[in-house]
């Protein structure tokens, strides 16, 4: 009963967002017994990134769902001044033999800090993934949109020396948004998985590119069978 409630909540969240997302997993390699998915990853996404994730899978014949939380930090001398956390759900909506379509939606809280400003942002990351999933391997294409919905700006004395009249506080509507697309593939063995994701990022005007317009992730999933 409790699980059903969670499932409904997760599915509703996905529905209202029109899309759903998830950790990168091999839908074809998940058994019913494997409910907990631990993830570590490294790569490039707006910087050189390392990340951790945890997903819990709800079994359903029609719409299997993984709710998950993730955290990542970019490299640098000050390791935790910038970070990103995500929480959401990934729903497998369609399965035609080995062809499967899933969608994910994740709420985001992220922080950025440098000598000029501290930014805190609430956002939403939505994507859809279509791919060919076999028990031992998979290949898929993911298209998504990452929206920075509302951001709090707090400037440092250093920036205020340059511009004392700067206005701190909450900025809305959305301060940013980027589309991304990536191909992903992976190999599953026993209760483990390695995957690679390679893609590109473009701003919401589909013309401007971020300074690091590429996306790269090498990940490892460990699935706990209980």
């Amino acid at each position: 009963m409790k699980n059903n409630k969670l499932y409904i909540t997760a599915a509703f969240f996905s529905l209202v967002s029109n899309m759903a997302l998830s950790q990168t997993v091999n839908w074809g390699g998940l058994t019913d017994k494997e409910r907990h998915i631990l993830n570590v990853n490294v790569g490039a996404e707006y910087g050189a990134i390392v990340g951790l994730g945890y997903g819990y899978k709800f079994n359903s014949k029609l719409f299997p769902t993984i709710v998950n939380i993730e955290a990542s930090v970019p490299m640098g001398e000050r390791l935790f001044d910038d970070f990103k956390t995500k929480a959401g759900a990934n729903v497998r909506w369609l399965k035609l033999n080995n062809l499967q379509f899933s969608a994910k939606a994740q709420g985001i809280f992220r922080k950025y800090e440098n000598e000029n400003v501290q930014l805190m942002n609430f956002g939403l990351d939505m994507s859809g993934t279509i791919g060919y999933y076999r028990p031992k391997w998979f290949a898929a294409l993911e298209i998504g949109f990452d929206k920075a919905i509302v951001t709090h700006f707090k400037h440092t004395d250093h920036y205020k020396e340059d511009y004392p009249d700067v206005k701190d506080g909450w900025y809305e509507p959305a301060t940013g948004g980027n589309f991304y697309g990536a191909v992903q593939g992976g190999y599953s063995f026993s209760n483990q998985e390695v995957y690679l994701k390679v893609g590109a990022i473009v701003s919401q005007d589909l013309k401007t590119k971020p300074q690091l317009p590429y996306l790269l992730q090498v990940g490892y999933n460990y699935k706990l069978p209980f």
């Binding site: 511009y163 009249d165 506080g169 509507p173 940013g176 013309k207």
Partner: protein, 339 residues
């Protein structure tokens, strides 16, 4: 009991959410004055001149008929605030002129296309603007004109002297990255070769998920540019020198680099016809500007005196008060007095 708990949780969530978003006034990032200062066309209280269809942030110090020293800031897309130590030269009887180049600092903004549509001629817009600024401040035909350029400003000054060799009686240049575009590219590559895992590089790239700006959204793009660290361990910028600025000009920087890359802009063109003396400064702490690079760049000038400023980096030649007072300024005064 469970219902009560749920109700309390709901009320608490609603309260937190309401407090979070309604206690402060929501602001938009592209509204003038919120995150970056207003420009002269948005704030009439700022000192400005109108030349070539652009309103430029500009001011001048010293006697109107003194030798005209035009200070040219770096970038492209910087502003003259960090050059203000040069105001000291007004006390020597010189007329010191500062202006933010179009699309830069507090001067009026223009679309990226207004530059790139000119093709290779985009740099001519900057030369013609400088010509008009000189004309605006020059009071007598015999008034001497000296260009004092730093970094990109030194490239611009050199290009102008090559284009109008008779119009400039003295050239003072501080660390132009390069004069031929291939050299500029090499210098930029060398001076910006940050570590992949370094804080500076990640600070620059991580921001893009928080703020994104469309082409010609000047407020947003200028703000993002200002967020990039002013500290550069390679060139020595931001080490101990204050290099304050008013506002960056992201669009013109992007446009002029795009034009330079495409048409290989050459700021050394015509310098073989420039016979007036050149005072060339470079800095001890800029690792991307060793003696060999200074020699390579100075080879484009016919009559050049080269000065290495000790204990400072790229900006410190002008911004570091000690270096300015003890090294840069005395050399400049001697140079101008000898013209």
């Amino acid at each position: 009991m469970t219902t009560l708990r749920k109700k309390n949780a709901l009320v608490a969530s609603f309260t937190i959410f309401t407090l979070l978003f309604s206690c402060t006034e929501g602001r938009t990032i592209d509204e003038p004055g919120n995150l970056v200062p207003k420009t002269v066309d948005q704030d009439s209280s700022l000192p400005a001149i109108s030349v070539n269809g652009a309103l430029l942030h500009s001011e001048a110090f010293g006697p109107e008929n003194g030798t005209l020293i035009i200070a040219l800031h770096g970038g492209p897309g910087g502003d003259y605030r960090y050059l203000l130590n040069c105001k000291d030269l007004a006390a020597q009887g010189y007329r010191v002129v500062f202006y933010d180049q179009r699309g830069s600092g507090l001067s009026q903004r223009f679309s990226k296309n207004s530059y790139t549509s000119q093709g290779a001629g985009a740099t001519n817009i900057m030369f013609e603007e400088l010509k008009s600024v000189i004309a605006h401040y020059k009071k007598t035909p015999n008034q001497k004109v000296v260009l004092l350029g730093h970094s990109w400003g030194a490239m611009l000054a050199s290009g102008y002297a090559g284009k109008y060799p008779e119009a400039v009686q003295g050239l003072i240049v501080c660390e132009p990255g390069g004069l031929k575009w291939d050299d500029v590219e090499d210098y930029v590559k060398e001076s910006r070769s940050f570590k992949l895992w370094g804080e500076i590089l990640n600070d620059a790239t991580y921001l893009d998920q928080f703020i994104s700006g469309k082409e010609d959204q000047h407020e947003i793009l200028d703000y993002k540019m200002s967020m990039l660290s002013s500290k550069n361990d390679i060139t020595g910028e931001g080490d101990f020198d204050s290099s304050a600025g008013w506002r960056d000009g992201a669009v013109i920087m992007d446009a002029l680099f795009e034009v330079g890359d495409k048409y290989k802009s050459d700021f050394s063109a015509g310098l073989q016809n420039y016979n007036a003396p050149v005072l060339f400064f470079y800095s001890e702490r800029n690792k991307a500007y060793p003696d060999s690079w200074a020699q390579k760049i100075t080879s484009s000038y016919k009559h050049v005196e080269s000065v290495k400023v000790s204990n400072v980096g790229h900006d410190g030649i002008v911004t570091n008060k000690d270096a300015w007072n003890s090294q840069t300024k005395p050399k400049i005064i001697n140079f101008i007095n000898s013209l």
